[in-house]
Symmetry: C2
Subunit: 249 residues, 2 copies
């Protein structure tokens, strides 16, 4: 295996996942992962550019940054690339009026979006909001549309809270895809557009950047397909069985 | 197109789907579909054998038969092939102890099943029971098992109630499959074992039977793959767009 210096040659920017890498979310704001507050501080003191690239869709960027600052992280809103603002941009460009199946914590990101007479469905990690009633409403709306549009903020299978593994938006996206016979448009990792917007925010090319994440598909696989290097951490949702996949890849 | 008499030559038994063919379920017990009470009565008066072959998993057979009898149908419990009793048989044979993500209405079918220290998950059309909390419990249990077993009572996408289309168990099965990286075992239509048990109950061979249903995948496709003839009704969940599929098939 090549030495670290060799593997990191030419790296000018670092994309950092948040949940499972910097902290585990949960009751009381969550818990920082050991060493991560200091690691971010060291990156910030280095010559490297840093952007936080998250699929967090339960909190607005403002709320997320506030939580992380309380835990001791040096982070500001402008340094966060998140799927909710990217989705608002897409809705605006395409004249889409969403039915939102999302968590109340992220609703403020959609404050200026027209939601009258919906012509698409947007789902995010709604947590308890994924009730049968809400899922059925999204389903019925998609079935009534001539050209059903389903936008999903990420497609993660699960994430880790301090209390254990929790279902993410991906399984619910799959449920609606199967029910309606549609394919969702994913906004967030591993979508190339999303990695590119994070790179743009740093002003760094793909081959000059490394993604650090806990999700082998969303973070590591997605970044590598975009020409970035990637680093799999063993915190968060990491599972030992993935090592076999990495060895076989 | 061949005449009816030709298409039905040699038919000795009829498998009848229930929901969407005999009645639409819903508040107050649901509504019979026009002409269906009399159609069942005529079949019963004919030389043909009749078996009701349903994926109903919100009600026990006893409750389902009581509902249908109140609506005027000539039906008894022994004439119903349903996935819950078939699942109990499988659990017993394989020493499986389920966590049940099911509707309260069907729980009595599992009264004699050992549910201590679960080593598998059984999902059925749980309706409002498909809360985030219950789904997450099923997910966590599957993730903790070395050999995760997920049994799904049917895999229907949706069904029709008097109030409109409703999500069936299939989308939730897909959600858990994706979240856990497992493949569910489906008990119910379109599984060949299920059609065969319905044929056995009638004492009729596949080539001597016709399935009448409203689901192009579960009823029509499943039956045809088992060597039965099949008839697609235009009630229940039927959608005009399926005609294109039938023409292209």
């Amino acid at each position: 295996m090549a030495a670290w210096s060799e593997r990191l040659a030419g790296v000018r920017g670092v994309l950092l996942d948040i949940s499972g890498v910097l902290y585990d979310s949960g009751a009381g704001g969550g818990t920082p992962i050991a060493g991560s507050v200091e690691a971010v501080a060291r990156l910030k003191r280095s010559q490297l550019k840093v952007q936080f690239c998250t699929n967090e869709s339960q909190k607005s960027r403002g709320e997320l940054v506030a939580v992380l600052r309380r835990l001791g992280f040096d982070i500001s809103e402008g340094e966060v690339t998140a799927p909710a603002p990217a989705t608002c941009q897409i809705l605006k460009e395409r004249g889409l009026r969403p039915y939102l199946l999302i968590h109340d914590g992220v609703r403020s990101e959609f404050d200026h979006v027209d939601m009258s007479n919906p012509n698409c469905v947007v789902i995010a990690d709604a947590g308890e909001g994924f009730s049968y009633q809400n899922m059925n409403k999204a389903f019925q709306l998609l079935m009534d549309l001539e050209n059903p549009v389903l936008i999903s903020l990420g497609k993660g299978r699960y994430y880790k809270e301090t209390s254990g593994l929790m279902l993410d938006v991906g399984p619910y996206m799959k449920a609606l895809e199967y029910a309606c016979g549609v394919e969702a448009e994913v906004v967030g990792k591993p979508s190339p557009e999303f990695f590119n917007s994070a790179l743009q925010a740093m002003g760094v090319e793909a081959h000059q950047a490394i993604m650090i994440g806990d999700d082998i598909v969303g973070d590591v696989g997605g970044a590598q397909r975009c020409g970035l290097r990637a680093l799999q951490v063993r915190t968060g949702k990491f599972r030992v069985s993935w090592l076999l996949c990495l060895c076989l890849a």
